[in-house]
C-alpha cells in the first residue's frame, strides 16, 4: 500500500532549519502566513467563537417573545432540580463508557491484526469502512429494522434470549444503541491506530521476538509506547463524540429514548429542550454543562499527553 517513501524525522527537521533561516526576504513573504490564515480565522470567529460566547450568554437568560431576560443561574438551578436531567447524565456516562471501551478496544485489535500484513488486508479495510461512510440516521434506521418486534432478523436470531423486542427492554435498548454506534465508529479508530502502528520499526519487534518476547509482551513494551500519543488522541476524540452524539440514538429509539426513556442521554435531553419545549435558555445551559465535561476531558488529555514528553 505504501509506495512513496515516508520522510524521516531528520529530513523534516532539516527542512525546518532551512525554512527558519533562509527566508526572511521581502515584505510580501513576511505577511503571507497572515493572509493564508485570514479566511479560516474569520470563518471560525463568526460561526464558531461568536455563537459559543452567545450560547454562554443565553444560558443565563430566558427568552420571552424573542426578547432576552437575564435570569442569572436559574436555568442551571432548574436543570439540577429536574430528576430527568440527572438520569440523562447517568445514561450519557453509561453510553460514553461502553462506546469508548468497545470503539477503542476493537479498533486497536483490528489495527494490530491488519498490521500483520496478511493477504486481503485492503479488502478487510474497505469492508470495515463501509459502516463509517453510512450516515447516523441511515445506520440507526437499519439497526431499528433489524430489531423490529416481529419481522426484524436479529430479533429473530436472538429470540432464545428474549421473546419481546430487545428495543423495549431498557438494558438491551442501551446495548443496541451502543452496538450500533460502535459499529459505525470502528473504522475511524482502526485507521488511526493502523497509521500509528506502521511507524513502529519492524526490526525492533522482530529482534524482541528473537529475544523471546511474546506477542503481548512485545506489544505492551515496544508498540504501545510508540502509539501512545495516537491512543490518547483516539480516546479523547471518541469520548467527546460519545458525549455529543445524538443522531444514531434518535433514529433507533426516537426522540423520547424509548420505553422508560431508556436512551434519553443529555444531548437528546437538550435537543428536546429546543425542539419540543422551545426553551433555548435551558438548552444553552445544558450545552454549557456538556461543554464543561468536554473541557475536563481535554484537560486530562493534555496532562497525560504532556507528561509523556517530559519523561
Amino acid at each position: 500500500m505504501a509506495t512513496n517513501t515516508i520522510p524521516t524525522r531528520t529530513a523534516v527537521t532539516a527542512a525546518r532549519s532551512i525554512r527558519s533561516g533562509g527566508r526572511s526576504s521581502g515584505r510580501a513573504t513576511k505577511f503571507l502566513p497572515f493572509w493564508l490564515l485570514l479566511p479560516a480565522i474569520l470563518i471560525l470567529l463568526a460561526v464558531q467563537v461568536y455563537p459559543t460566547l452567545y450560547s454562554l450568554w443565553l444560558s443565563v437568560n430566558r427568552i420571552k417573545g424573542g426578547e432576552l431576560i437575564f435570569v442569572g443561574l436559574q436555568n442551571f438551578d432548574t436543570l439540577f432540580k429536574d430528576l430527568n436531567f440527572g438520569r440523562s447524565l447517568n445514561r450519557t456516562f453509561t453510553f460514553a463508557a461502553l462506546y469508548l471501551v468497545f470503539t477503542v478496544g476493537i479498533g486497536l485489535l483490528l489495527a494490530v491484526l491488519l498490521n500483520r500484513r496478511v493477504k486481503f488486508t485492503g479488502f478487510y479495510l474497505v469492508l470495515i469502512f463501509i459502516p463509517w461512510v453510512i450516515s447516523d440516521v441511515v445506520a440507526g434506521t437499519i439497526w431499528r429494522w433489524m430489531f423490529q418486534q416481529s419481522y426484524g432478523i436479529l430479533q429473530y436470531w436472538l429470540q432464545p434470549l428474549s421473546d419481546r423486542s430487545l428495543l423495549v427492554n431498557p438494558t438491551t435498548a442501551m446495548g443496541i444503541v451502543v452496538a450500533g454506534s460502535v459499529w459505525r465508529a470502528l473504522a475511524f479508530t482502526t485507521i488511526l491506530f493502523l497509521g500509528a502502528l506502521q511507524t513502529v520499526p519492524v526490526e525492533v519487534v522482530e529482534s524482541a521476538a528473537m529475544d523471546g518476547a511474546g506477542g503481548w509482551q512485545s506489544f505492551l513494551r515496544i508498540s504501545f509506547p510508540i502509539i501512545r500519543p495516537t491512543f490518547l488522541v483516539a480516546v479523547l476524540l471518541t469520548s467527546i463524540r460519545a458525549i455529543n452524539s445524538v443522531g444514531m440514538i434518535l433514529s433507533i429509539m426516537g426522540t423520547t429514548g424509548g420505553a422508560g426513556n431508556a436512551t434519553m442521554t443529555t444531548a437528546l435531553y437538550m435537543l428536546n429542550s429546543v425542539m419540543r419545549d422551545g426553551n433555548l435558555g435551558q438548552a444553552a445551559a445544558t450545552s454549557v454543562i456538556l461543554f464543561a465535561f468536554n473541557l475536563v476531558l481535554t484537560f486530562i488529555y493534555l496532562r497525560l499527553a504532556t507528561r509523556r514528553d517530559t519523561v
Binding site: M1, A2, T3, P7, V12, A14, A15, R16, I18, L36, L37, A40, I41, I43, L44, V47, Q48, P51, T52, Y54, S55, L58, L113, L114, R116, G122, Y124, I128, F129, I130, P131, V133, I134, V137, V138, T141, I142, W145, Y151, G152, I153, I191, L194, G195, A196, A209, M210, T230, G247, L250, S251, A267, L271, M275, L280, A283, A284, S287, L290, F291
Partner: protein, 282 residues
C-alpha cells in the same frame, strides 16, 4: 526466525478468522438492507423473517424515486456537502500550509486554540445559530449558504489539523528548490505543493464530504421547509409516512448511501494512503 512454521501458520489463520468475523459484522447489516429493499411488502412481514427475497421487486424504489427525497432532499444534500467540502479544503489548505511552512509568533498558541474549538459540542453553537438565523430570516432567504457556513466552520478545526500534518509529510526541499529558481511563494504553492499534497487534500475532502452528507442535527434543527430539507432529515421523516413499509424505507437508505459509498470506493486507495502515511502521527 525463531518461530516455527506451524506457529506462523496458526497466526495467519487466526488473523483471517478474526478479521473475517468483523468484516462480516460490518457488511451484513448493509447486505440485509439491500436485500430488504428488493422485497415486496408481504415478504417484509413474513415470520420467521427471511434474509433474501423470494420474489425480487423494484416497487420500493419506484416509491422512493417519486418521493421528495429524490426531488429535493438529495440535490440539497449534494449542494450543501460539495459546497462546504470544497470551501473547507481550500480554507483549511491555506491555513494548514501556513502552519506547516512558516514560523511566526503565536503559531503554536493559535493552532492549539483552533484545535480547542473541536471540543465545543455541535449543539452549543447550534442553539445561538438557530436564534440568530431565525432573527435574521436566513432560514428562508439562504438555507444553502447557512448550512455551508455552519458545516465549514464545524469542519475547519479538524481539517486544518489533518491537512497540516499532510503538508508536514512533504519534504520542504522541493519547494525550496523552486523558490531558489525564482518561483514566488504563491506559485510554489500552486505548482509544487498542491500537486504533491493532492492525496492529502483529497482525503480531507472525503472526510468532510462524508461528515456533511451524514450530518443530521443542524439540518433537522434549522431546515423546516420541505424544499430545503436534506437527505438525512428526509429519511427521518420517512419514519412517519412509511412506518410499516420497511422495504421502502430500506430502499431510501440504499439511495442515500449510494453517493458516499461510490465516492469512498473510487477514492479509497488515495484516502488510505494519505491517512496511513501523512497524517495523525501524534
Amino acid at each position: 526466525m525463531v518461530r516455527s512454521r506451524a506457529t506462523a501458520l496458526r497466526e495467519v489463520f487466526s488473523t483471517h478468522t478474526i478479521l473475517g468475523i468483523f468484516a462480516v459484522i460490518c457488511i451484513l447489516p448493509v447486505l440485509y438492507t439491500l436485500a430488504t429493499s428488493f422485497k415486496p411488502l408481504g415478504e417484509v412481514r413474513s415470520n420467521p423473517p427471511l434474509f433474501f427475497p423470494t420474489t425480487w421487486t423494484l416497487q420500493p424504489y419506484n416509491q422512493v424515486i417519486t418521493s421528495n427525497l429524490i426531488r429535493y432532499h438529495i440535490p440539497n444534500s449534494l449542494i450543501n456537502s460539495l459546497g462546504s467540502s470544497v470551501l473547507t479544503v481550500i480554507v483549511a489548505g491555506l491555513a494548514g500550509y501556513a502552519f506547516s511552512r512558516y514560523k511566526f509568533r503565536g503559531s503554536g498558541a493559535l493552532q492549539l486554540t483552533i484545535l480547542g474549538l473541536m471540543m465545543i459540542p455541535g449543539l452549543t453553537n447550534l442553539i445561538p445559530i438557530y436564534k440568530i438565523a431565525s432573527d435574521l430570516g436566513l432560514l428562508a432567504s439562504s438555507p444553502h449558504g447557512l448550512m455551508i457556513a455552519i458545516y465549514t466552520a464545524g469542519g475547519l478545526p479538524f481539517s486544518i489539523w489533518i491537512i497540516k500534518s499532510f503538508f508536514d509529510a512533504i519534504p520542504f526541499e522541493i519547494e525550496e528548490a523552486a523558490l531558489i529558481d525564482g518561483c514566488s511563494p504563491v506559485q510554489a504553492l500552486y505548482y509544487i505543493v498542491v500537486p504533491l499534497a493532492g492525496p492529502g487534500l483529497l482525503a480531507g475532502f472525503l472526510l468532510m464530504f462524508v461528515d456533511t452528507w451524514n450530518e443530521f442535527l443542524a439540518a433537522v434543527l434549522l431546515l423546516n421547509r420541505e424544499t430545503d430539507k436534506v437527505a438525512t432529515v428526509g429519511l427521518y421523516a420517512f419514519q412517519n409516512s412509511f412506518e410499516i413499509q420497511y422495504n421502502v424505507w430500506m430502499a431510501a437508505c440504499i439511495v442515500i448511501m449510494i453517493p458516499v459509498v461510490v465516492l469512498f470506493l473510487v477514492m479509497r486507495r488515495t484516502f488510505f494512503q494519505a491517512m496511513l502515511q501523512g497524517a495523525l502521527k501524534g
